[in-house]
């Protein structure tokens, strides 16, 4: 049990190396599997309803896909800083890891600010959740994603505050592994939301 990581596995004999899994990582993947069902179910129904109606027509043509693309770029960059934080933690450079973590959280906040402007513009133009079925889906799916992103930002900010130059490198590396896994998952969800809700209705 290195670095106080709790591991489970089946040991066949004392001299054999067992296939073991970190409980934290396993738990995070089980959680992400559940989240995949939630978002996957929503997206599946969105696609089927679109097919049944022969596309979203003019309802979907009002989304601002350029703002969506800018937000996608922001999320990609936040994942880059998260990966760099993991790299810094691996070489036991806690101060650099802290800076990259802070940048990740700030880019997450920037995503939310851009999204808030986008929502405000949509509301101003009369595209409220009750305006049409497309907009109901739009707000439910992007709103749920925003909540997930918000949770990630809170955790990353919290972790940033906890990191000091004396923070044990193994502890930070392990926490970053779980937090970043979640952050990359939220990014992956956004990739599909961007394709479904922004690009596809604007195509052609």
């Amino acid at each position: 049990m290195a670095n106080s990581a709790v591991e489970i596995g089946i040991a066949h004999a004392p001299h054999e190396v067992s296939a073991s899994f970190e409980i934290g990582k396993l738990g995070m993947w089980v959680f992400l599997a559940g989240e995949t069902m939630v978002f996957g179910g929503l997206m599946g129904v969105f696609i089927l309803v679109a097919i049944s109606r022969g596309g979203w027509g003019p309802d979907g043509a009002h989304v601002n896909w350029l703002l969506g693309a800018i937000n996608t770029l922001v999320l990609f960059t936040s994942s880059l800083t998260a990966a760099l934080a993991q790299g810094a933690a691996r070489v036991q450079d806690s101060p650099r890891a802290k800076r990259y973590l802070g940048a990740t959280a700030l880019l997450g906040v920037l995503f939310l600010v851009i999204k808030a402007f986008e929502y405000a513009g949509d509301f101003r133009d009369g595209f409220t959740p009750l305006a049409a079925l497309f907009w109901s889906f739009y707000y439910v799916m992007t709103g749920l994603h925003v909540l997930h992103l918000l949770a990630g930002i809170v955790v990353i900010f919290g972790l940033t505050l906890m990191v000091t130059p004396r923070t044990p490198a193994g502890w930070l590396e392990r926490k970053l592994k779980y937090v970043c896994l979640y952050w990359y998952f939220v990014e992956t969800v956004w990739v599909f939301l961007f394709a479904l809700v922004y690009l596809a209705p604007s195509a052609g």
Binding site: K25, V30, G40, F76, L80, L181, T188, F194, A203, G204
Partner: protein
């Protein structure tokens, strides 16, 4: 099974690849490609981006079969869900 080192330049290359894919998806809309072709490009790009994130950032390339099962099982279940809902789509049309 922990993966081999993932350096800063690897992270930058992954980010660059994601940005190039983002541009390809955006161009499919901006250039006004025929709708069916644009949809193929858009969803192809999204799948490629998810693959890149999963493989390089989420480190799936070095994970055990259990993690792969956990990652892919819900995707399979969602696809099954979509299939069982197809009769409802036919009814709505």
């Amino acid at each position: 099974m922990e993966q081999t080192e993932f350096s800063a330049s690897d992270s930058l290359r992954t980010w660059g690849l994601l940005v190039v894919l983002l541009l390809v998806g955006g161009l499919a809309v901006a250039l006004g490609l025929p709708r069916s072709l644009a949809l193929w490009v858009i969803f192809g790009v999204a799948t490629a981006q998810a693959y890149v994130i999963g493989r390089y950032y989420m480190r799936l390339r070095s994970e055990d079969v259990l993690i792969y099962t956990l990652a892919l099982l819900p995707v399979a279940l969602v696809i099954i869900l979509a299939f069982v809902l197809i009769p409802d789509v036919a009814m709505l049309r």
